[in-house]
Symmetry: C2
Subunit: 148 residues, 2 copies
């Protein structure tokens, strides 16, 4: 439950407190390098800290997203998923979503090619439409190996 020392500073600097629930929730992500829903985070954190409520989970996920510690994804399932930002940075990846079983597959192959292409496209779009692009989402939908 003891987080890295820089974490305290990171919260402090942003005017927030590094509370026990917040550490516990960050720990869940550290142990689970996957795309977790709020419900899943709640159930996991509940095992060790049964006191933590669902509302706190939602508030914390929101805070961590704002702070840039986790990333928020919407795979069109009807709810959101979150992933440790450091994981994403460690290995930039996009996602394929199985429309039958809901499995989410990360891929980081061909990423250089993809990033290069997107960078060019974003530059052209920005210029032509005077739209400042900050972010993108690319999802592929289909059937995973098991579901075909």
């Amino acid at each position: 439950m003891i987080g890295p020392p820089w974490l305290h500073g990171r919260f402090r600097n942003a005017g927030f407190r590094l509370t026990l629930p917040r550490q516990a929730i960050l720990n869940i992500f550290a142990e689970n390098p996957k795309h977790l829903s709020a419900e899943e985070v709640f159930l996991s954190v509940h095992k060790n800290c049964p006191g933590i409520g669902l509302a706190t989970v939602y508030r914390t996920l929101d805070l961590l997203t704002q702070m840039g510690l986790i990333l928020k994804f919407d795979f069109g399932e009807g709810w959101n998923r979150y992933e440790l930002a450091s994981e994403a940075i460690k290995e930039h990846h996009h996602h394929m979503v199985c429309t039958r079983c809901g499995r989410i597959i990360d891929y980081s192959d061909f990423m250089d090619k993809e990033v290069e292409f997107l960078k060019g496209l974003e530059a052209e779009l920005s210029k032509k439409h005077k739209f400042k692009i900050n972010n993108h989402q690319i999802h592929f939908y289909g059937l995973c190996e098991r579901c075909q």
Copy 2:
């Protein structure tokens, strides 16, 4: 309110009936070539046909999506949007979403290049991950001209 004759057949063939509410809702899309939310469709259709309920709007949007007459989008706003499929076919496009005002900008520039790139990427991903890709979503997020 009189739809093209092929519409009747299209419903008939799929085992459905072309009812007044369904025609009215399709009309809304024909008059509004944009990405409408269920709520927006409901409000629009309500002006001419106050009898049509929200549940019918949802059921109809679902049906039309299944029939392929409209396309369903999730821009991460917390609700879905729909667009006439024929519009999308007429001019294949992707979207840029302004994270400040929510405006959605279509772009169809560079589409050939983009489609070509995606086709190649999909082929490589399919092979490597044994994942059968049927569809993709690409959204750019940022600030529109007015919001910068």
